[in-house]
């Protein structure tokens, strides 16, 4: 790994303790470089979601330093958080599609609410829908789609504003195993075009079949960090 590359995500001595007293993350140190694809794995309650929530600044770390996409998340003002989020695309485990909006409108929504103009919206939404293989489903409503298709809409929405980082916490958790493959293949394709991808998963088959870097959490600590291809740290 090139030591001079500026990491897109850098944790240094980060700890997170919830108000309830749970120590969800303990002294986490990690660097993720632009263009990497990283699986985050670990047992339930290991702190994977907490790790992701710190990156999207849903939660704030208690100690340490955390830099994401050039934003210092220990010092960021509330007013700047939307700008941080515009640099990333978030994929939800439960899809989060608005049931009253068509596939097209669901994806367009992500552009409308950050003030994109209509022509650009039409162009970009169509492009991203064909990229995820849903070009012919633009007018469908979410309840007319399979789980895998719904998640591809979610993926399209996360991608449409061209983020440099994709954050996906168990994106295949509610999808059939064979369709999960589809999703990760799509993510891998996007990653090949330069987007950094961070994905939490419980699915060992996916981790084995897609040769990406794997970070393993256990009781809030990083216990393994295997570079793509299975090599050790």
């Amino acid at each position: 790994m090139n030591a001079t590359t500026k990491p897109i995500i850098e944790f240094r001595g980060v700890s997170k303790t919830y108000k309830t007293g749970t120590h969800a993350l303990k002294d986490v140190n990690i660097r993720i470089n632009p263009g990497e694809f990283v699986f985050v794995v670990g047992a339930s309650g290991a702190g994977k979601s907490t790790f992701m929530k710190l990156i999207v600044r849903e939660e704030k770390a208690n100690t340490g330093s955390l830099i994401v996409n050039g934003f210092d998340l220990m010092k960021i003002r509330n007013r700047s958080i939307p700008h941080l989020r515009r640099t990333m695309g978030i994929v939800f485990q439960d899809f989060r599609l608005i049931p009253t909006m068509s596939v097209f409108e669901n994806v367009a929504f992500a552009m409308h609410v950050i003030g994109a103009d209509r022509r650009k919206i039409r162009k970009d939404v169509s492009a991203v829908l064909s990229m995820v293989g849903l070009g012919n489903k633009a007018r469908s409503m979410p309840n007319q789609l399979s789980g895998g298709e719904q998640q591809r809409v979610g993926l399209a929405r996360a991608l449409v504003n061209k983020p440099s980082l994709i954050i996906a916490d168990e994106p295949t958790g509610n999808v059939d195993p064979n369709l999960s493959y589809d999703i990760v293949a799509k993510l891998t394709e996007i990653n090949k075009q330069g987007t950094t991808v961070l994905m939490v998963t419980h699915d060992h088959n996916l981790v084995r079949d897609f040769q990406h870097r794997v970070i393993m959490l256990e009781e809030g600590r990083i216990v393994a960090d295997n570079a793509a291809g299975g090599g050790n740290i």
Binding site: V56, E58, R96, I98, H112, V113, D169
Partner: protein, 346 residues
């Protein structure tokens, strides 16, 4: 914020209204009731103020001048009652060269001086009008006013027997609340012998005005708070029903003002709809009431709705728009503070 986003988000706000139409109708209903009540309070107080204004103008102060008659009869009114020597007084009144009264004993000797005094009185602060009432005229009006049909009892008060009234000025005031001060100033004016007034009427008018003013302010304040609570509550319900949308907006990096806008639009629209319907309702209520009152009392002149329509619409729009904006801003800020960051777990 760009115009196209405003138009998109406005549409979202109107969609909210439709999606929660039951809530919308309920809150428009309550807001409308508040507005109609506020409108009635305003109309009633305006009408009462106008009526009171008419009364005020009738509440005159009579200032009697220090002239010859005042010296002859003024202070001696008790003596006059007790004295049986009526003939001596009447005869002396007719006699201008009476030996017991010299010209130095009184200040107003002729009409010129009386008019000068009137002029002086009209310059007192808060005096609206001064009308000179010569003693003969005063006597006439007493005869007419009080003694209609019994003029013969007062025949002894004719020219030959003399007129016990002094020259006087009929004074009206601008502001009844300064009644006491003004009365004192009139009393203290050189040349004024005594004043006559209905100070209890002035007090009653002032108390009525104050009472209506205070009650009006309270009614409006309470109704405003109710309107605000109603609108906030509606917005809160919409907000929770739109949790999903809000979480996505947060996730893709919408700013708080973007997230807020559809809700503000929703609140303001509720306000405007309520203002429009309230104006119509108030107009019909007022017309019906006016006809009823007009039929019952005939002469009372009520303020026409036309005269106050602009004011009423202005008040309603102000209430509607303000409670829409304030209600939604308060609610969404509260929401964003409490749940705003929890977009990955709803």
């Amino acid at each position: 914020m760009k115009l196209r986003s405003v138009s998109y988000l406005s549409k979202e706000g109107v969609k909210n209204l439709w999606a929660n139409r039951l809530m919308t109708v309920a809150s428009v209903g309550v807001l409308m009731a508040c507005m109609v009540l506020i409108g009635l309070a305003v109309l009633i107080s305006m009408n009462v103020n106008k009526a009171v204004g008419n009364l005020e103008q009738q509440n005159v102060i009579m200032a009697y001048f220090n002239d010859k008659n005042s010296v002859l009869y003024g202070d001696a009114s008790e003596e006059f009652n007790s004295s049986q020597d009526a003939s001596s007084t009447t005869s002396s009144s007719a006699d201008s060269t009476d030996t017991t009264i010299s010209e130095d004993d009184y200040l107003i000797h002729n009409e010129e001086e009386a008019l000068a005094l009137c002029d002086k009185l009209s310059k007192i602060d808060n005096v609206l009008s001064v009308e000179y009432v010569p003693s003969e005229e005063g006597l006439e009006s007493i005869k007419e006013g009080l003694l209609e049909g019994k003029e013969e009892y007062f025949e002894f008060l004719d020219k030959d027997h003399g007129n016990p009234l002094s020259d006087a000025a009929k004074i009206t005031l601008k502001d009844m609340s300064k009644f006491k001060e003004t009365l004192q100033a009139i009393k203290d004016t050189e040349g004024v012998d005594s004043v006559q007034s209905q100070s209890d009427l002035a007090d009653k008018i002032n108390a009525l005005k104050d009472g209506i003013g205070i009650a009006g302010v309270w009614i409006i304040a309470i109704l405003l708070i109710i309107s605000l609570v109603i609108v906030s509550n509606t917005i809160r319900v919409t907000m929770y029903s739109r949790k999903l949308e809000i979480s996505i907006m947060k996730a893709v990096g919408a700013t708080n003002s973007f997230i807020r806008l559809p809700f503000v639009i929703e609140g303001v629209t509720i306000g405007i709809i309520s203002a429009a319907t309230s104006t119509a309702i108030l107009y019909f209520c007022y017309r019906v009431a006016m006809e009823a009152i007009g039929d019952a009392l005939g002469i009372i002149n009520i303020i026409a709705f036309k005269e106050v329509a602009l004011l009423i619409v202005g008040i309603f729009l102000a209430i509607g728009v303000l409670s829409g904006i304030v209600g939604s801003v308060i609610m969404i800020s509260k929401y964003l503070k409490k749940e705003g960051s929890e977009f990955t777990a709803i």
